[in-house]
């Protein structure tokens, strides 16, 4: 009996204790799912509801007086769209370069015959646990001439040691040694083996890595905040930071004008949360199919 049949088509009745267990388990997980979903759901219904209704606390379970005015307003925000464009550029560059750096390095590190493998492993492990810290990093970037330069956003993000080791592990476990040896006997050199054999078999890790790097870059704001001064270069997250957060920290007072400001500002906030997060959230299910895909099925024993 496989695990599936064990849990799916139960021919045997569960005992009372098990029934209680399964029920409680399902209820608790269901509640957890609601806790995860509700905030996201609220943002959506609030974004298409009348701002007054939101402010009056009427929007809790469903949208009230549906309006698209928030989306119309965000269309007029050139800073948001400039940020969007910038982020897309930074993200695309990061993904391309990161794959170029990470995938071959991961392959090389997975090879037992890599000269100096042990040393290289130590070289890559140390930064996982120890770093120079923010200021020396800033100074290095500064002396590389990367202040107020878009490459300051891209270059430091093109290699994550975690991702490198994940790639290495993928290669170790999913590329059968026999395939590589077969290529060797067929006359392929190491580069040829990499391009003709390894890369075509690595769609899963390419997709996952692209996703990780893309999301990392799409969501980051800190490097942009410390390295970029020119607002036209700001990525989306930095623009969002102004829209979403700045006001909360500076304003403590009250009064009608401020209320009016909030009325409008909040609507923009709901909408911008959606507009900025949708691309990333849409990417996830698209790439998820690669997570568990068995690329190797055909090549191994039947």
């Amino acid at each position: 009996m496989s695990k599936n049949t064990l849990s799916k088509s139960h021919p045997i009745k569960d005992g009372l204790g098990d029934k209680v267990f399964y029920t409680i388990n399902a209820i608790v997980l269901g509640i957890l799912a609601l806790i995860v979903i509700y905030p996201l759901y609220f943002i959506i219904i609030a974004s298409i509801s009348d701002p007054d209704a939101v402010l009056a606390g009427q929007v809790v379970l469903y949208p009230v007086q549906i309006t698209m005015s928030g989306f119309q307003k965000i269309l007029e925000r050139t800073d948001v769209w400039q940020g969007y464009l910038n982020t897309i550029i930074y993200t695309v560059l990061t993904v391309i370069l990161s794959l170029v750096v990470t995938i071959p390095a991961g392959w090389a590190l997975s090879r037992p015959s890599l000269p100096g493998k042990k040393l290289l492993m130590v070289y890559f492990i140390i930064p996982m646990f120890f770093g120079g810290g923010l200021i020396p990093f800033y100074n290095v970037m500064s002396s590389l001439g990367l202040i107020n330069n878009m490459w300051a956003i891209v270059l430091p993000s093109i290699l994550s040691v975690w991702n490198l080791f994940m790639t290495k592990t993928f290669f170790e476990s999913s590329i059968p040694a026999g395939l590589v040896e077969a290529a060797k006997i067929d006359g392929a050199g190491e580069f040829r083996t990499f391009t003709s054999l390894v890369l075509p078999l690595s769609k899963a890790i390419l997709a996952v890595m692209a996703l990780y790097y893309a999301i990392g870059q799409w969501n980051s704001y800190f490097n942009a905040m410390i390295f970029l001064q020119d607002e036209t270069m700001y990525p989306l997250q930095l623009v969002l930071k102004e829209i979403l957060i700045a006001s909360e920290s500076t304003m403590g007072g009250s009064g009608e004008t401020i209320l009016e400001q909030y009325r409008l500002a909040n609507q923009i906030k709901y909408v911008s949360v959606i507009v900025s997060s949708v691309p990333v959230l849409m990417l996830y299910p698209f790439v998820q199919k690669y997570f568990n895909q068995g690329v190797m099925i055909g090549s191994l024993k039947g």
């Binding site: 006997i185 055909g298 090549s299």
Partner: protein, 394 residues
């Protein structure tokens, strides 16, 4: 096609770490193999040593032995996938110790086929030729020829995933023969097939052998494969060659106890605690309380060696045991009906003896569990092994 010469080939895996249960952690899904009694020296673990063999042009050589005997390692050294730690390897007249696999003009069929999953059957077979910049038309011709031989023409457009085990096996062979290698190496190519398919593919390989002109080196742990396929068989154990010979030689005259037990099914019966004695200038064997005088031929061979009386182990193949009311008495422990023959497990004075008896006209009832059975064997078919050295005395 080329001859091969292996001169005192040796493989040592250097000790990289202090020897402490290596491997176990790494490949969990690979069952931990029986530990072989490999020699561990200061240099490291010696996987293969003193391996010398001349292989003629077009010969079919089978390396056979239990897990960890070094047969695969030897094959991989010939392929160039493992560095040769010592000795010399010639393909034709060329010393190839330091030659890269692609320049050795060899091809290999892997145990798991190692087909490129992202390529079609056609591309799998064409890959090596493409890498050698063979003109397209010629690639096409060669691939189709090979596909014809192996009867896989209709699958050329498919990917390996869409093929059955037997078909994948053919593709793997096709990939190897498509470039007319001088030497074709096969590493347990049939071990992933089920029993029926395995017999069928074995016959195919015999046929293939006559269609293509190359030297075969074939590794297997299955002695039946070895016997049926090989021109000569190399039996290995613990990194050492035990015997090299034709199937007839290794079956009829096993060099030592190990070979005797390894070749032939059911396994040869061993009677331990026997004695070789000399009586009136004639050699005889004390076995199970009886004294059996040896045949003329055996006498001659023993005299030629000037063999002294000693403790020995006597080996008799199960098929050579026959019913004989005058012979030894044994009690049937287990009686296995195989159809045309009966496998009897007899308890003879505490020793387990297996006999294979044709069933035609046999009284099955008289051979059922618990019954007493009398048997004997032709003395000339006895194998005599020195109890100490385990070597065949003749």
């Amino acid at each position: 096609m080329a001859s091969l010469t292996l001169k005192d080939i040796k493989k040592v895996y250097p000790n990289t770490e202090p020897v402490k249960k290596p491997k176990k952690k790494k490949n969990n899904d690979e069952p931990v193999k029986e530990k072989a009694n490999l020699q561990i020296t200061e240099e490291g673990v010696v996987a293969v040593q003193q391996f010398s063999l001349d292989i003629a042009d077009g010969e079919f050589i089978v390396l056979v032995g239990p897990s960890g005997c070094g047969k695969s390692t030897t094959l991989r050294m010939i392929a160039g996938l493992e560095e040769i730690s010592g000795g010399e390897l010639y393909i034709g007249d060329r010393l190839v110790n330091d030659v890269a696999p692609k320049d050795r003009d060899i091809a290999m069929v892997f145990q798991n086929y190692a087909l490129y999953p992202h390529m079609t059957v056609y591309d799998n077979m064409a890959f090596a030729l493409k890498l050698r910049h063979t003109p397209k038309a010629e690639i096409d011709k060669k691939v189709k020829e090979a596909a014809e031989i192996l009867d896989i023409t209709q699958y050329l457009g498919r990917k390996p995933k869409a093929l059955s085990g037997g078909q994948r096996q053919r593709v793997a062979i096709g990939r190897a023969i498509v470039r007319n290698p001088q030497v074709l190496l096969m590493d347990e190519p049939l071990s992933n097939l089920d029993a029926k398919l395995r017999n069928q593919m074995r016959a195919e390989i015999i046929k293939l052998r006559h269609k293509i002109n190359t030297t075969f080196i074939y590794v297997t742990h299955d002695q039946t494969e070895a016997m049926t396929l090989g021109d000569r068989i190399v039996i290995m154990k613990d990194g050492f060659i035990q015997q090299i010979g034709t199937p007839q030689e290794v079956f009829g005259h096993p060099y030592n106890l190990f070979v005797a037990g390894f070749i032939g099914t059911p396994q040869m019966n061993f009677f331990t605690g026997c004695k070789l004695v000399k009586e009136d200038g004639k050699y005889a064997v004390d076995i199970l309380g009886k004294r059996i005088v040896l045949s003329e031929k055996q006498q001659a061979a023993l005299s030629a060696n000037n063999q002294q009386p000693c403790d020995i182990t006597v080996g008799v193949r199960p098929v050579h045991i026959q019913a004989d009311s005058q012979g030894f008495t044994g009690k049937v422990d287990v009686s296995e009906m195989m159809g045309s023959e009966l496998h009897l497990h007899l308890n003879v004075q505490g020793l387990d003896v297996v006999a294979v008896i044709p069933t035609v006209g046999l009284d099955l009832e008289a051979h059922s569990t618990g019954k007493e059975v009398n048997f004997s064997f032709d003395p000339s078919l006895m194998h005599l092994f020195d109890a100490q050295t385990e070597k065949n005395l003749i």
